[in-house]
Symmetry: C2
Subunit: 591 residues, 2 copies
Amino acid sequence: MAQLRLALAQVNPTVGDLEGNADLIVEWTRRAAEAGAHLVAFPEMMLTGYPVEDLALRTSFVEASQRTLEQVARRLADAGLGDLPVVTGYLDRRADAPARPGRPAGAPLNALAWLHRGRVAVRSAKHHLPNYGVFDEFRYFVPGDRLPAVRVAGIDVAAVICEDLWQDGGPVSVTRAAGAGLLLVINGSPYERSKDDVRLELAARRAREAGCTLAYVNMVGGQDELVFDGDSMIVGPDGRLLARAPRFTEELLVADLQLPEAGSEPLPREQPVRAADGATITVERTVLSPHPVPPYEAVPPPVAPPMDDLAEVYAALVLGVRDYVRKNGFRSVICGLSGGIDSALVATIAADAIGAENVHVVLLPSRYSSGHSVADAEELVKRQGLQARTVPINPMVEAFERELHPSGLAEENLQARVRAVVWMALSNQHGHLVLTTGNKSELATGYSTLYGDSAGGFGPIKDVTKTMVWALARWRNEQAVAAGQVPPIPQQIIDKPPSAELRPGQLDTDSLPEYHVLDALLDDYVERDMGRDALIAAGHDPALVERVIRLVDRAEYKRRQYPPGPKITGKNFGRDRRLPITNRWREPSAG
Amino acid sequence: MAQLRLALAQVNPTVGDLEGNADLIVEWTRRAAEAGAHLVAFPEMMLTGYPVEDLALRTSFVEASQRTLEQVARRLADAGLGDLPVVTGYLDRRADAPARPGRPAGAPLNALAWLHRGRVAVRSAKHHLPNYGVFDEFRYFVPGDRLPAVRVAGIDVAAVICEDLWQDGGPVSVTRAAGAGLLLVINGSPYERSKDDVRLELAARRAREAGCTLAYVNMVGGQDELVFDGDSMIVGPDGRLLARAPRFTEELLVADLQLPEAGSEPLPREQPVRAADGATITVERTVLSPHPVPPYEAVPPPVAPPMDDLAEVYAALVLGVRDYVRKNGFRSVICGLSGGIDSALVATIAADAIGAENVHVVLLPSRYSSGHSVADAEELVKRQGLQARTVPINPMVEAFERELHPSGLAEENLQARVRAVVWMALSNQHGHLVLTTGNKSELATGYSTLYGDSAGGFGPIKDVTKTMVWALARWRNEQAVAAGQVPPIPQQIIDKPPSAELRPGQLDTDSLPEYHVLDALLDDYVERDMGRDALIAAGHDPALVERVIRLVDRAEYKRRQYPPGPKITGKNFGRDRRLPITNRWREPSAG
């Protein structure tokens, strides 16, 4: 056996910022060198950020990625870091693939490079291209067909990219045949609730299949609707967890590993192997450093404890907001504050993300606002130290009413839209990003006003059901109490029955079932794609099933016009759930 | 040689409306029978409409499609039409495909069926799955691997689906080996400018490759952002055009063909053939009617003349609006009318689509509106007989100003948003669909107000550059003059310099270059994905290139929140151009 100190750089790149991402590689390689690492690995598409979507099809962008990669290799050597092998993801392309219908323009590759002594020593590319959920990689990439097996400190290290771990066959299935002592997997794997359990189980299974230690490095940070949670880890050949990084934060996970030393017999530089998916994968051998490092005293690696469900959701929301604000060049946010639970939670998340001094809230009372709403909102402002302003909307609403005489829904929507005009004007005047406060239960059922409460640039709780909104508010208050602080959200806001306050005495339950009933049904219909009969068989009330299916299907056009927000479930009405707008499909009746 | 009267049913299905689409199959099969046809073909995914997107992943929907297909076969027989073979597209699934990561849930198939004598005689599925532009078929389908060769009236007829014609290899490449006398291609091929020329060339090439006559049937109608233009056609084995249907309208294209009679030697029922793309395609032979029909007098088939460029664009826009209104259950539309060219063209398109009596326009003059704007708008209303109403916006704008004191861009946007609140209130009160009037040049550069002029349910000219807006307006007026009618758009509206009229004396050219310069640059940057250096090398002004790239990239977040509109170019900022919102990529400088 040979020793290896491995560093996994769980960092936060930004899509399109090649220079900034290159700086991150140099900076974190320096940290790895200072920690005495013998090998350092960065996430999938580290150099470009991920996902790049249509940028992959732009020649100038692909060439910039290729050029920047070479520069990074030289910069590392110039900085005295050239002897430390670096594995990183980047965007490349196949030079030998002619244009043809159905092949992405320029034949881009989701690629992996080994940087060593000032040059790019080895290149390979992702074999399995995910094209489901938030992934569209058949649009953007052509598949790779090589497995690099690179000798570092006398150990043969194989390296693959993300989906190659998830699907059967491909390069992972030939890792054992390649005789690798370590399988390195670089990832851009977005957060989903409880995905950490699935990942650990998968890594353990693949380690056993490959018969070697498996190291998994994932990026961290927000990108549009996606949040990457990190969760980098190392498992032994028996599937046992050896090391794990904390989630939702940048981290250098350093671990001392005992790995099988490579044999001394010469092996072919290239060796085609039939993979389990029918493809032929060529094992490509390279030697960077043939001999084991001198024995040294190993330090036990850190194993971050798992997070509980609410803690991880809350952390995803905070990171999603912080990175959307920061990466898009904003410094402050604004949102309406009604005195209800949704806007209270959004303001609290925003304050945790960017500081209360950068969170602007507008109280917009109307003739239907209750006294307690204003008082509760003011109490929340006081507890958190938010930047608050009150703009009563009656004068504007009345100016419209004198001309248009709206009634019913038109009158309710008018108030919501006047509020949006106010916060958009303040946003335009002062440069704040507008946060919308709608939750997933409302969004799913269309219980919101287009260009009213749904107007804004980012929706922090867009993918959070109402039931979970309450749970998160309670959880956040409990955390404060446990830390000896004042709970940020007044209990009154959590306890009162939800109301849009767009007409006298209005309650959400006038229009919608109780949220615990609704949310369970939405989960089965939206997340699980269950049909009408299956929903009823699962125990949901038949009349409610009919009604909610109708509401959800009708609200599709509204959701198309909603702003993005951090994704935390399997389907968040973004690209991962794309139903036609014009759509006459109705679930068939049981009879 | 044997005779065959072939009917291609170029019809307009609706996504999700299985019953309605089934009715269309029965009705148009009846028409084909009345026309004496021996075989009738319907478009791709006829039974479900196309594209169904995530509905393909819903078990209840797939099962409904399978069930409805069987019912249609029985209904045709019950109606005395069972002896006329019917080829149609529908949604099926592979029963033998276990769930695995990366495979669409339920293994759906974009399928093709032959209906005959009350039953489904033959089933096959699309082999090449397009996953570029507006297509996402790797998300939704698993590939088929069979080529049906079905003997009808003594002729062996092979049948494939859409993309199988566009890509090399697959079932089309084994058609010659299968000895087919006719290759039938059923399509859901959306309109793009000048695509008719490409299609004819492609059909001619594939006919020569297959060595037989090729019949191409396409759907017609609007579906969300897509417009299907029909353009069904038949070409001979030498690639010569034999018949062609008019576009943008439902049509039964009937043609008498002379086709090679199948040999009498027995052939294997199933025959695997290695296709040019490396796949194995199984030719599956079925006999529906072994003997040629008795000789009859053939009628020369119709060949619709090609449409000129502006005529086809205008027809696509009218059909897109009409079907979006109709298929979504609206009866009327509303839009703002400023006196400018964009809203004038949108109102004219809408009047042509659904009748002037169903087109409601609101004149919303502000303190900055010029006298001629109001007069021009009123003249347009009078010429076309639109339903008009005037709502001066000063009182509402002033109510906001008293509270918020906006300046600069905030003040300009306020006016645009107050207008949107007015038309949304009228829409909510009266049930009109709101049409937005923004054009592609504005949309690309972000020259519009979020939740202001961009607010609405459908954007008829969303994919039309300003240069083409003028060209279409002139073309529409010329058509009227040629027909002895009053031109619908006052010349004054076409001639005056464009202005948003949001501040005194404002002109578009204050903020943007001349539109003919801008539009040429947008075409190269957006449609062709050209990088900065390539744009400058193509002759665009370097300073303008820098500026427009910055404008277009910055406006990405706005376009994400734009409503859909009919697609007429390669990329219309819908799903076919999906750039990240958070995106720091900037084209590198020349130095």
